[in-house]
């Protein structure tokens, strides 16, 4: 049986990818950002997931304004890094566990989560930056150490799905994965955040106190965390901070009681606060 053993929460700031791709991670500006992922890379080597279920959002790269699915599940055999306007990231092609992905799609729909099925899709920094920070630099002709099932969530056009919906979707993802008849170690990633606003006169907003409280709640009182209304993210964590709803999908897929094995928080990476947690199921 496939099992979800752990969850990872992680920001996916594009500039972090640029820093890795241009080899400047040891500069004083970037060093503290990457220092916090050293332990994570060791953890990934020990955890050795077969499959990563990766919850992220597209940043008006692959999905233009003509089609805006709230939840889109990647069911293609592979996903190429997209050109976001400055050329594709030089990272490996992302390969799927296609049978598990289509099993999850069927299971979710019968579980009344009407997701969109993507049989062709490129992926932007929202998906590849979390893989890069957790695995380190991998040449574009190499391979990611795990297969990846992307779940793309609309958080660009208001309203994003509610935290509650995301949390319950996470529970359904767990039911789907744990009904798949193959021995697989699955780790789920919830990405995006922390507080940031990229637009207009309030750009640059950071609310470290709120971010830290969010991570505390997510770990210890996840149902309460899932009830935070959109307006609170928008006001307290910035208009783009609403991305954090995606962390609830990850948390919903884990046990009620989890062990926090690592946490990292740093301001800034470009316009954004970087947040990261690793949570293990105890079972």
């Amino acid at each position: 049986m496939a099992r979800i053993t752990a969850g990872v929460g992680c920001s996916h700031v594009p500039a972090i990818g640029v820093a890795m791709d241009t080899g400047i991670t040891d500069q004083p500006y970037w060093q503290p950002v990457f220092k916090g992922f050293e332990k994570s890379r060791d953890w990934m080597k020990a955890a050795k997931p077969d499959v990563i279920f990766l919850v992220y959002n597209d940043h008006c790269t692959v999905f233009d304004a003509s089609c805006i699915p709230t939840f889109a599940l990647g069911c293609a055999a592979e996903f190429h890094p997209a050109d976001e306007g400055w050329g594709p990231r030089p990272v490996p092609v992302v390969r799927n566990h296609q049978k598990l992905a289509s099993h999850i799609a069927q299971s979710l729909i019968l579980d009344e989560f009407d997701i969109t099925i993507m049989n062709e899709m490129e992926v932007d920094h929202g998906l590849t930056v979390p893989l890069s920070v957790m695995y380190g630099e991998i040449d574009k002709d190499g391979e990611w150490p795990a297969l990846v099932i992307p779940l793309c969530v609309n958080v660009v056009q208001y309203p994003a799905p509610t935290g509650n919906r995301c949390f319950n979707l996470g529970r359904a993802v767990r039911r789907a994965i744990e009904s798949f008849d193959e021995e697989l170690n699955v780790v789920i990633f919830g990405t995006g955040g922390m507080s940031h606003q990229l637009q207009y006169k309030r750009a640059g907003l950071i609310n470290a106190e709120w971010d830290k409280r969010f991570m505390d709640m997510l770990v210890n009182d996840p149902v309460a965390a899932s009830q935070i209304p959109h307006v609170e993210y928008l006001r307290e964590a910035g208009s783009e901070g609403v991305e954090m709803v995606m962390w609830h999908v990850m948390r919903g897929a884990l046990d009620e009681q989890v062990t926090e094995v690592h946490r990292h928080y740093h301001v800034p990476a470009s316009n954004t606060a970087v947040g990261h947690v690793i949570l293990e199921n105890r079972g």
């Binding site: 233009d64 304004a65 507080s195 637009q199 207009y200 928008l234």
Partner: protein
């Protein structure tokens, strides 16, 4: 019944909701088209001719031509789309924020390194002396 907008009192912020998305549709579709190298080349060769492909309003078209980044947002643009135009111009997200806030790149970067813009005094339009 109209959806209640409980986010309209946040200062310095455009929440990209259905109304903004509808208004900005062709502007945003223009911006995302610049994701393709061939389109970037066509746009850079003749901006006006390229913009003729997109039925945006004269105000939106002018905002693009004059790189009025806040104007584009006010006319229904979203920053993830307008950032594609910025990228075409060699402007990254942080430099774009420096322009939109009116702070300039150095002062904005300095603010971020010092922990970013505080939430204190920045939650409500009333704190900015706005309606």
């Amino acid at each position: 019944m109209t959806m209640k907008k409980d986010y309209e009192d946040i200062p310095g912020t455009f929440v990209f909701d259905a109304d903004r998305s509808r208004e900005g549709y062709h502007l945003n579709q223009f911006c995302i088209s610049l994701r393709q190298q061939a389109n970037r080349e066509a746009f850079n060769a003749d901006e006006g001719a390229y913009l003729d492909r997109f039925p945006m309003t004269p105000e939106q078209r002018q905002a693009v031509l004059s790189r009025d980044w806040n104007g584009m947002l006010a006319l229904g643009g979203n920053v993830y789309y307008t950032s594609k135009l910025a990228a075409n111009d060699g402007i990254n997200f942080q430099q774009l924020a420096g322009i939109m806030t009116g702070m300039g790149n150095e002062a904005y970067r300095e603010m971020m390194v010092k922990g970013g813009r505080s939430i204190e005094g920045n939650r409500y339009k009333s704190e900015w002396g706005e309606e």
